[in-house]
């Protein structure tokens, strides 16, 4: 599909929502890179959308408007305590979520720190026992250094987690599905764009590690131009989390891709595409 253009029949099937998931995926991937086919599909989607107008008209309950306005933060519903209750419930759930996340993080960090202290004690005993063996001392010292670096990395990760949680709770954050370019790929990912903190996260799992000399590179398209948001690698478990700052002068993006580039990154997008973010081409919020 990637090399072939979409037929009118496929566009109609895509618009009406009748394609099988694998075919829909193939069309979606193609659309992300083909403006001509996007025009065809948009025409089909406009036609399909008119179906919705064939439904018998029903009047929604009068309280719906208050619900909508309250949820949009436009005005507080007067008599609709139920809506306020929902808002309080939502706020409560959010607070519980944050509290649980914080508590879990504290417990986890405490466990990690406790573990590190235990490791330090064991390490110290070994150092005491091996004072006369300089080679072993050097090796154990290196191990201690590694653990300290790991502790620092975990602390950074915990800070990053907190920033990500803040972003996920923000109304001004866009979370976009990421579509793998290869149909048989099991990789999944999300692009989190936090307009408040001016930060971007890309997270993915089941991502193969690149061989030496290659790296993953994240790009966003804004105003018709691709901007690099940096390079990243997957860990041995196939997990990747890349966090960066939104480049100066960019307030939003149209599409984003992840490519494979040479180690150190490329100044222009030229390597094969691994992931695509597709959320504007289709008439879908």
């Amino acid at each position: 599909m990637t090399g072939e253009h979409i037929t009118q029949e496929q566009a109609d099937e895509f618009a009406i929502g009748s394609l099988e998931p694998a075919s829909e995926h193939a069309v979606t991937v193609h659309l992300a890179e083909c403006p001509a086919c996007r025009d065809i599909v948009r025409d089909s989607e406009r036609l399909a959308a008119r179906f919705a107008m064939s439904s018998p008209l029903r009047r929604p309950p009068s309280h719906l408007k208050d619900r909508v306005l309250a949820a949009a933060g436009i005005r507080r519903p007067g008599p609709l305590r139920r809506v306020a209750g929902y808002a309080r419930t939502a706020a409560g759930i959010a607070a519980v979520f944050v509290a649980v996340a914080a508590f879990t993080g504290m417990v986890w960090m405490r466990g990690e720190m406790s573990g590190l202290r235990d490791d330090d004690e064991r390490l110290q005993r070994k150092i005491d026992e091996a004072l006369s063996q300089e080679v072993e001392i050097a090796a154990l010292t290196r191990k201690l250094d590694d653990q300290e670096k790991e502790a620092a990395r975990l602390a950074d990760a915990a800070t990053g987690d907190q920033d990500l949680i803040v972003a996920l709770l923000s109304n001004n954050t866009r979370i976009a599905d990421v579509v793998p370019a290869a149909e048989d790929s099991t990789s999944i990912g999300r692009l989190v764009w936090d307009g408040d903190q001016k930060r971007v996260w890309f997270v993915a799992s089941d991502l193969p590690q690149r061989p030496a000399g290659e790296t993953y590179q994240l790009w966003v398209n804004s105003g018709g131009k691709y901007y690099s948001l940096g390079t990243f690698a997957a860990d041995p478990d196939g997990f990747a989390r890349h966090q960066t700052i939104v480049p100066e002068g960019i307030t939003s993006y149209d599409t984003a891709v992840v490519t494979i580039e040479r180690a150190g990154g490329s100044p222009i997008r030229q390597g094969p595409t691994v992931f695509l973010v597709y959320d504007l081409s289709r008439l879908k919020d």
Partner: protein
């Protein structure tokens, strides 16, 4: 243009160089009900709460009705309608003005939200008023509308009439296949299994149905 081809750029934030809407004059600010949809969306992008209220009044019946038809549940239809309008308020830039009419976009968003809800809950709806494909003409209108703008309501009514007439002219099996896909959220294979028909037959019905619908609506404008 990137080496592999960049998606085109568009959006309300670029509206100054892509689409130019006539901004209503100051004297007309008090009567937003007369504004076209796209002008209201521009105002909403500037956080105009009255514009949002006007747009809500104009289309909430359509959004709710379409959601109800897909979900067959008043509570879920309310939730979906709320979700659609709240997202419209929070992210008006999601509507790309030069890519088509606002109403088509709104209906597409509504359908996608409702079908997502349908699939997420893993249940199939109970069809409003009986088997698929026959909107209950006698049920419309179920209420007396009190729209803010008679002209837009008349245009809406004409559009609905054109769509219904076009659907009525379709052979029943084609209309059923289209409605099972669009309102039921079924894939072609699921439709074939549900109707006990070969997959190729279902694909043909959808293809011919879309062709005829396109031609019919083009003729009717």
């Amino acid at each position: 243009m990137g080496p592999q081809g960049n998606p085109e750029t568009a959006g309300i934030r670029n509206v100054g160089r892509t689409v130019v809407f006539a901004r209503p004059a100051e004297a007309e600010l008090a009567s937003r009900a007369d504004w076209p949809d796209e002008a209201l969306m521009l105002a909403i992008a500037s956080r105009d709460e009255l514009a949002f209220a006007v747009l809500y009044d104009r289309y909430v019946d359509l959004v709710y009705s379409a959601s109800f038809r897909i979900l067959a549940d008043a509570g879920l239809a309310e939730d979906t309608s709320q979700d659609v309008f709240v997202r419209l308020w929070r992210r008006p830039e999601a509507f790309i003005a030069d890519r088509g009419r606002f109403l088509s976009w709104l209906m597409s968003v509504t359908r996608n939200r409702a079908v997502d809800e349908l699939r997420a809950r893993g249940r199939r709806r109970r069809r409003e008023g009986g088997p698929l494909g026959e909107p209950d003409e006698a049920a419309e209108p179920l209420f007396a509308t009190h729209p803010p703008d008679p002209q837009s309501t008349a245009e809406l009514h004409e559009e609905q009439l054109a769509v219904r007439t076009a659907l009525r002219d379709l052979p029943g099996e084609q209309k059923t296949a289209l409605e099972l896909a669009y309102f039921g959220g079924f894939t072609q294979q699921e439709i074939a299994a549900r109707l006990h028909e070969p997959l190729g037959t279902v694909k043909t019905r959808i293809r011919l149905g879309m062709q005829k619908l396109r031609k019919s609506l083009e003729v009717r404008g």
